[in-house]
Symmetry: C2
Subunit: 301 residues, 2 copies
């Protein structure tokens, strides 16, 4: 039987293996480790790498918290039961180079005292400059993982990511999306163990995916203008995370550890007023790709 | 009679006089001017100064918008009438030097089709390093303005600012507060014209207050460590504006012009993970003052 302890242990192993893989590829940066306890119950292990050779700031967080949900969250989740257990691994990597993408992953398990449970998670990519070959490759990896479990997953979860990672006030997606899902629970065609296998398979795909980008792009030179654009795009990332992201909101409203939750924010972000980009510039071309509904997995450039 | 046109004209004059005063004191920076229209009705004049001698990024926005309120805002304001008119001037100034404070002012007038109306606004100061003499002086200015109209205003509006400019997830105030008020409407003891006079008196106090700080602090040298701290404090400012600020939320949800609304964000902000400050350092001392309920106007250091 899949107990909370098994889920928790497996997520801790995932955190460890991802940190090791990222450290090895970075070659310079090392993850710090902070164990923290939550007043209401549970706690976590926050691991942060700052000022690496490739990674400027990256966080690989594990948490397993339990207790009573605040009313605001109960209302949002449309549940009556207030006694919850939630565990997960959350990752955000901000690279030094504007030619490398920001990446985010989250895999999580949620359980109520009444026995209801669900899995949630996703991976999405935020390139500062959209490289269509990279975008296609990234989505093909996610599709490959999904297709091993259920052919309906990728199309459904890809659309969910488009809708979720959307900066409504800018009418632009955060990046090129990926997959996102929530409230995944057993049904006639798939059991709890199999869903957990899917979650872990996704988790295990994270390091190979990001290492692929690190290896291919780490030695590329970039210009001051590209760096400036990266800082602006990071500003959009901050806007998404603080205005829309439900995980951030959940963490802040359940009195999670602020420094762990906001590890998703970049070391530096900028807001220049009303920047205008020339038509056909790399910046304008990237903006054209920041929209919903692009079929990246079979994109023909 | 105090018509919408009179209010609007007076606010436009206020915008102009503040821009002129700030430009004169800065000596280098000039305000750009963008006129914009809102799809749903109305528009505004956005004036931004970037890269001045003292001001790094400052916005002095005028807007006068009308139309139908979205349901989310109607619910928040607890009103049934959806047809609204709103006009105001909003200011945020981010200085180059960490020894100068960030300042914010907003004065606004809101009217519904059914004839209901109210005034709202406030001024608050966010020093990167709290200087208690400055904080006392600042609050004394606001108290002086309030006391000319109603002795109950300053204590009431000062507390309101403490509660409003509060970063709940950090358990710290944004800065040293100031005054904040909303839904101010005529009653037996004060008429509409008098309320508008108060609003404009407050608006007219903005330039002398900030020029006082600009003059006194512009020539002071600062260190790289102080600059770093400023960038962290600006990160907190971003957190407040994107997570809690009702004006920002109102603007984004009523499809205001994004570049105008988010002029409040600094040119650069940073998030370093888990910075720790030595006891008695200037940074730790500042953090001690970022709490509610300090009686700054009669503070004895």
């Amino acid at each position: 039987m899949l107990t909370k302890e098994i889920v928790t242990d497996r997520l801790l192993q995932l955190q460890q293996s991802i940190c090791t893989a990222l450290e090895n590829e970075d070659g310079v940066g090392k993850f710090s480790t902070e164990n923290w306890n939550r007043d209401g119950g549970g706690g976590g292990v926050t691991r942060i790498l700052q000022q690496g050779a490739v990674i400027e700031k990256g966080g690989v967080n594990f948490s397993a918290v339990h207790g009573e949900l605040p009313n605001s969250i109960k209302k949002e989740l449309k549940i009556d039961d207030a006694v919850f257990f939630a565990t997960g691994v959350s990752i955000v990597i901000h690279p030094i180079s504007p030619l490398l993408p920001i990446i985010h992953m989250n895999v999580r398990y949620f359980e109520l005292a009444n026995g209801d449970y669900w899995f949630g998670g996703g991976i999405d990519l935020t390139p500062h400059y959209v490289d269509v070959a990279d975008a296609r490759w990234f989505h093909a990896q996610l599709k490959g993982t999904c297709d091993q479990f259920d052919l309906s997953y990728y199309p459904k979860f890809k659309k969910w990511a488009d809708d979720y990672f959307f900066i409504a006030h800018r009418t632009e997606t955060r990046g090129i999306g990926g997959i996102f899902f929530d409230r995944l629970t057993a049904n006639d065609s798939i059991g709890k163990q199999k869903l957990f296998d899917f979650l872990m398979h996704l988790g295990d795909s994270f390091a190979p995916i990001y290492l692929h980008f690190m290896r291919n792009k780490r030695l590329l030179d970039f210009t001051a203008a590209q760096k400036r654009w990266q800082l602006i795009r990071r500003g959009r990332y901050v806007e998404f995370n603080l205005v829309y992201d439900k995980g951030t909101k959940f963490g802040l409203e359940t009195s999670g550890r602020v420094e762990s939750i906001l590890m998703s924010l970049p070391e530096q972000a900028n807001w220049f007023y009303n920047e205008i980009y020339a038509e056909k510039s790399a910046e304008s071309e990237t903006l054209k790709y920041l929209k919903k509904g692009i079929d990246w997995a079979s994109f023909e450039s």
